[in-house]
């Protein structure tokens, strides 16, 4: 954040999703970051904003399916864990 806080230069950018949680706190009322594109989802959102079907938009289909699959697996795992806990309590 040296560019913004020390040299007062407006900063914005895009990062991989791994780095995004560490940088999101800088998107604040102090405008340490003017905005942040975090990961593929934000990249596809940006492409939608500029009316361009790029690689991020194409990859987002597979990404969404993977997310749904992960959610289903988490849900299934939790249901199984709750059932197992109830059985052991009985």
């Amino acid at each position: 954040m040296a560019a913004r806080d020390v040299y007062n230069t407006p900063v914005t950018g895009g990062t991989t999703a791994v780095s995004a949680p560490g940088l999101i706190p800088y998107v604040n009322s102090q405008k340490q970051l003017h905005g942040l594109l975090g990961g593929l989802k934000a990249a596809s959102g940006y492409e939608a904003l500029i009316n361009r079907v790029g690689s991020a938009t194409v990859k987002m289909d597979a990404q969404s399916i993977a997310h749904l699959l992960i959610l289903l697996l988490i849900l299934t795992g939790n249901i199984k864990a709750f059932r197992a806990r109830r059985r052991s309590a009985e």
């Binding site: 954040m1 040296a2 913004r4 806080d5 020390v6 991989t16 999703a17 791994v18 995004a20 949680p21 706190p25 800088y26 604040n28 009322s29 102090q30 340490q32 975090g38 990961g39 593929l40 989802k41 990859k59 597979a62 990404q63 993977a66 997310h67 992960i70």
Partner: protein, 158 residues
Amino acid sequence: MLPNLFTKLITDFKGNIILLIPATLGIMMLLRIIPKTQWLSRFPIAIMIGTSAGINMLRYTKSDMLSQISATMINPFNAASTSAVIGNILLIVGTICGVYYFYFSKKQEGISAVPSKLGIWFLMISFGASFGYTVMARVSLLIGRLEFLLKDWLHIIK
């Protein structure tokens, strides 16, 4: 070393005479391999650490302390939309409760345990968001690699 030191010194020695200082410090650093002159390497290391600390201290204090505190000390109701007001309130409550969770000078029981428990929830949600982002990144990488393998390399998909 060749473009940054030797070439500059050969072409314009007087103009780049200041480069002799880092060159000397670099040689002093290498003297670590000789047991008798090992102590000399402490000076360049001390200069490096001191300079790094001095340069970064200002930036860290401004970016990660003062600006972050200022960003939290806001009027939550001074926002354009209802969602922004709710977001501001959550920001303030989450920050205070999250910090309070790490306050160990007083036993947290009764009413004083409430913000601490709320702080745990905020921390858990933030860790969950971080984990979610990490999963998203790994899935993106997998999709990218599969796209390369199946599209660019094997031409199975178009």
